[in-house]
């Protein structure tokens, strides 16, 4: 009913914008409460995220991760599945990327290695999503519960592997050996250097192009393939899917595997790119942020790019903020990020009725004026 009355640009443009502003408003009060100037804080966040080359680099580097995890959540969401397991799938996916890189990096440069790395990562991530998917489709265990559990299992497994198996002997850190330089994805700095442009150093690497390619692929998958048609039908109405002769169980499993494979691409950005090795906890919550990104981006690739950019800016701007204003600790930055997630995700429908009413009043007034 309400969908009919609001034009799309308000639904996907104005409302999220107002939600972000509300989140910042509340954050501003919190900052005021600890005795700092909210305006100054916002200024630091914005300049930190977009004000200089290194900051932009970091923002886009975080954005890359969020695009992958956001797409992962969105694909599953279209089939009505809430994949909370992006974190674990990305973690295990990175293991696949790392293993492939470490076994081939002595003979191959990055451009030859990347298809193998992507395949290995996708296979690992998909495998990690497969088990919850199978349990959901064939045994009725809820995917939310099982994917959360699999995050913990992934974390424990990775600690075991890093501490006992992959660790470089004689080092303190539970991390694998560094991948050979030639096998690591070129950073954006290297790419620009080819054109004779010197930009600041940042972890941003060519994985961002992979992220954008994935956006296009996901868009094609969902709206231009039979599988996408089946995925969306299951999400909207599973009974209708059965009526249409779709094998819902198999489709659910395939969807979750695609979702896991997308999350695993974080491993390309991190393991093969920014960090150049497998290390503890490198996903750093990107899997969970992906949920908020997907919700805010309305599960559409374009929306996800925009939302990822916002969260990338929040991460980088937040780091800058706590760097520049010592009394704003990193915990407060988490509070600000949390507020944005709260307003854009959980409370996203809170202001909708009000906006609807205002819009309709305006609309009605305009109509009367036209008459």
């Amino acid at each position: 009913m309400s969908n009919k009355t609001l034009p799309t640009w308000i639904d996907v443009g104005v409302i999220p914008l107002i939600n972000v502003c509300l989140a910042f408003l509340v954050s501003g009060f919190v900052i005021l409460l600890i005795g700092e100037s909210p305006l100054e804080a916002v200024q630091w966040m914005i300049t930190g995220a977009f004000g200089y080359a290194e900051g932009i680099g970091y923002t886009l580097y975080y954005t890359t991760n969020f695009i992958f995890t956001g797409l992962a959540v969105a694909v599953a969401f279209h089939a009505g599945l809430f994949n909370i397991g992006g974190e674990g799938q990305a973690y295990i996916g990175g293991l696949g990327v790392g293993l492939m890189c470490m076994s081939l990096d002595s003979f191959m440069p990055w451009w030859a290695l990347i298809p193998f790395a992507i395949a290995a990562g996708a296979a690992f991530g998909a495998a990690w999503a497969f088990i919850p998917a199978y349990l959901q489709a064939y045994r009725g265990s809820h995917v939310v519960i099982t994917t959360i559990m699999f995050n913990f299992i992934a974390s424990a497994l990775m600690v075991y592997l890093l501490v006992n198996v992959l660790i470089e002997p004689g080092t303190m850190s539970p991390q694998s050996r560094v991948i050979a330089d030639a096998a690591i994805l070129p950073s954006m700095r290297d790419v620009f250097a080819v054109f004779g442009i010197n930009i600041a150093n940042s972890p941003l690497n060519i994985a961002i192009f992979l992220a954008l390619i994935c956006c296009v692929l996901v868009w094609l998958l969902l709206w231009h393939t039979r599988l996408g048609y089946a995925i969306r039908m299951i999400g909207f109405n599973e009974q209708a899917a059965v009526y249409s002769g779709i094998n819902t169980r198999r489709t659910i499993v395939i969807t979750m595997c695609i979702s896991g494979a997308l999350a695993a691409m974080v491993g390309i950005n991190e393991v093969m790119g920014a960090q150049g090795r497998v290390l503890l906890d490198y996903v750093a919550g990107a899997g969970f942020t992906g949920i908020a990104v997907s919700l805010m981006g309305r599960n559409h690739p374009v929306g996800i790019i925009i939302a990822s950019l916002l969260f990338g800016a929040l991460y980088q701007g937040g780091a800058e903020l706590s760097f520049e204003v010592p009394s704003i600790t990193r915990d407060l930055v988490v509070v600000i990020q949390g507020l944005v997630i709260l307003f854009c995700g959980a409370l996203s429908l809170m202001i909708k009725p009000t906006i609807e009413k205002l819009f309709l009043r305006f609309f009605a007034a305009k109509e009367r004026a036209n008459v």
């Binding site: 009355t5 048609y229 209708a240 249409s244 779709i246």
Partner: protein, 529 residues
């Protein structure tokens, strides 16, 4: 003294309900436009109109669910403002909803007094409520056991509880919203008896329905709504079905299905001893066998929930065969050869789902996406990797053209079409391929009268082309006029069969309630007693 008499007389003469210039809009949609309605005291007033005519909106305003944008509500000669159902009850208005608002695990007494307890002590309330319920039952002839568990009662009795609930709260004006949808013909008759009794005791009844024969059977006056406005009000005695149908639709309507006698040929669809158990182990289908021949329409009659849904699911491949078998166009499907809905379609079976919102379409999809449901894997809609979206759109546009679906816009969201147009799209999708066997569930549920005629014609012409059609409907009129042969289902079994020409509501009704179902049983008890 005199003046007092005058006022009381004045009040007695003033109508129970007097609505003046009611307006209500939802966004750009005007659901009610300057609606005036007068319901005389102690009368049964029918309100009739197609879906979306504004009947439900008007009643929701009267019962306080919505606030009118403008207009006045006068109850018993007094201007009132009703902001909630609480206000409505206080004014003496009671409502019996289409879907009952009863708690199945409570007793009748508990349901009746729920929310209207007279004392903070439960025992005390129960005692006084029991006495009151007793009085109401006797006064209006509404016999129900106050200590029965509500969920165990038959639907007709549950509806009685709803009426008692309203009366218990002091209702003098009773609104009934589509009350007969779930009742057998016998139960409908009982309901009408109750309504007559209420009228005699001065209760005013507003009956909202889309069934013309009910209006003719029971009401004193009838108001017709169309497109949010009040089109006409008539004394029931001075009108007839044809006139009412014309008023509802705005043009002349053919109420009878115009068709030649059937010429049945070879069997195209056969069900043999189908039995289906649900997850709780209860038999939803119990040894069902039937045959549908080319060139005939077989109707399945029955009160909703007696296995028709499950039968359609099994016959269309939505549910797997558990026991028994299906022979479709010479192919046997049983539990060793389980096929899904797509495979059934490949055996030239069309299936118009009973419930298009749950099964037959995806309301969030665009019309073009709905138009290929079940055929999404056909080569004509697919390229090598990607779907051929242009072909899908074109296909949908063609269907819309052929079956007069409005608005003719394949990109519009399915939810934004009216019920009739949604149904036309679903039927178009299934009929367009001229399936050898067509299953149709509730062909005209929630469909405007104008569209009903069209849909019936389509089904008949498919039959005349030599195909087999199986129709499931809870509308007896429809089954009798559309079908050539009728079987009746009760509790998952087939309890009777007859040619449509021999059928009447009385005979079918008895079978549907299984009252005359098992003659052998009746005679057996007869012998013993």
């Amino acid at each position: 003294m005199l003046s007092q008499d005058n006022t009381s007389q004045g009040a007695a003469r003033s109508p129970a309900i007097d609505l003046r210039k009611i307006n209500k809009s939802f966004g750009p949609v005007k659901a009610n436009k300057d609606v005036d309605l007068i319901v005389a005291k102690g009368s049964i007033h029918g309100i009739i109109g197609e879906n979306g005519a504004g009947k439900s909106t008007l009643m929701s305003i009267l019962y306080g669910f919505y606030a009118a944008d403008s207009g006045e509500i006068w109850v018993n000669g007094k201007l009132t403002s009703i902001h909630s159902s609480k206000d409505a009850i206080a004014t003496g208005i009671g409502m019996v909803h289409q879907h009952f608002m009863l708690i199945d695990t409570f007793t009748v007494l508990e349901n009746v007094m729920l929310g209207a307890e007279q004392s903070s002590s439960l025992q005390q309330s129960k005692k006084s409520a029991r006495a009151e319920l007793q009085r109401l039952s006797e006064e209006f002839g509404l016999a129900v056991d106050p200590d029965a568990i509500t969920g165990d009662l038959a639907v007709g009795l549950q509806q009685r509880v709803e009426i008692l609930k309203a009366l218990y709260r002091g209702a003098e004006i009773l609104i009934l919203d589509e009350p007969t949808g779930v009742l057998t013909p016998q139960e409908v008759q009982q309901l009408f008896d109750i309504l007559s009794a209420l009228r005699e005791r001065g209760v005013s009844v507003m009956l909202i329905t889309h069934k013309l024969q009910e209006i003719i059977a029971i009401t004193d006056e009838v108001t017709v709504m169309r497109g949010g406005t009040m089109v006409a009000t008539r004394e029931t005695a001075e009108t007839n079905k044809e006139e009412l149908a014309e008023l509802m639709v705005g043009r002349k309507v053919l109420l009878r299905v115009d068709k030649e006698p059937a010429k049945p040929q070879q069997v195209l669809l056969e069900a043999k001893n189908l039995t289906l158990l649900d997850s709780a182990g209860i038999a939803r289908l119990d040894d069902v066998s039937l045959q549908v021949r080319a060139g005939e329409i077989l109707g399945i009659a029955g009160v909703s929930g007696n296995g028709q849904t499950e039968l359609l699911d099994v016959l269309s491949g939505v549910a797997a065969v558990q026991q028994g078998s299906i022979v479709l166009n010479g192919v046997t499907i049983d539990k060793d050869n389980v096929l899904n809905a797509k495979d059934f379609r490949h055996l030239s079976l069309g299936h118009v789902a009973e419930d298009r919102h749950k099964q037959g379409m995806v309301t969030e999809f665009s019309a073009r996406e709905c138009a290929i449901m079940g055929f999404q894997d056909e080569p004509e809609f697919n390229g090598r990797l990607l779907m051929d979206n242009a072909a899908v759109t074109e296909h949908c546009a063609n269907l819309m053209q052929q079956f007069d679906v409005r608005p003719n816009n394949p990109h519009l969201k399915a939810a934004n079409f009216s019920g009739g147009n949604q149904q036309k799209l679903c039927i178009a999708r299934e009929i367009e391929r001229q399936p050898k066997v067509l299953l149709v569930g509730q062909p005209t549920r929630g469909v405007d009268i104008g569209a009903i005629e069209f849909i019936h014609q389509q089904i008949v012409s498919l039959r005349d082309a030599g195909n087999a059609v199986l129709v499931v409907s809870v509308e007896l009129e429809e089954v009798m006029s559309l079908c050539d042969r009728i079987v009746v289902m009760f509790e998952g079994r087939i309890v009777g069969e007859m040619a449509a020409v021999n059928a009447d509501a009385q005979k079918l009704g008895l079978l549907m309630g299984n009252a005359g179902g098992d003659d052998s049983d009746n005679s057996a008890t007869g012998v013993v007693s």
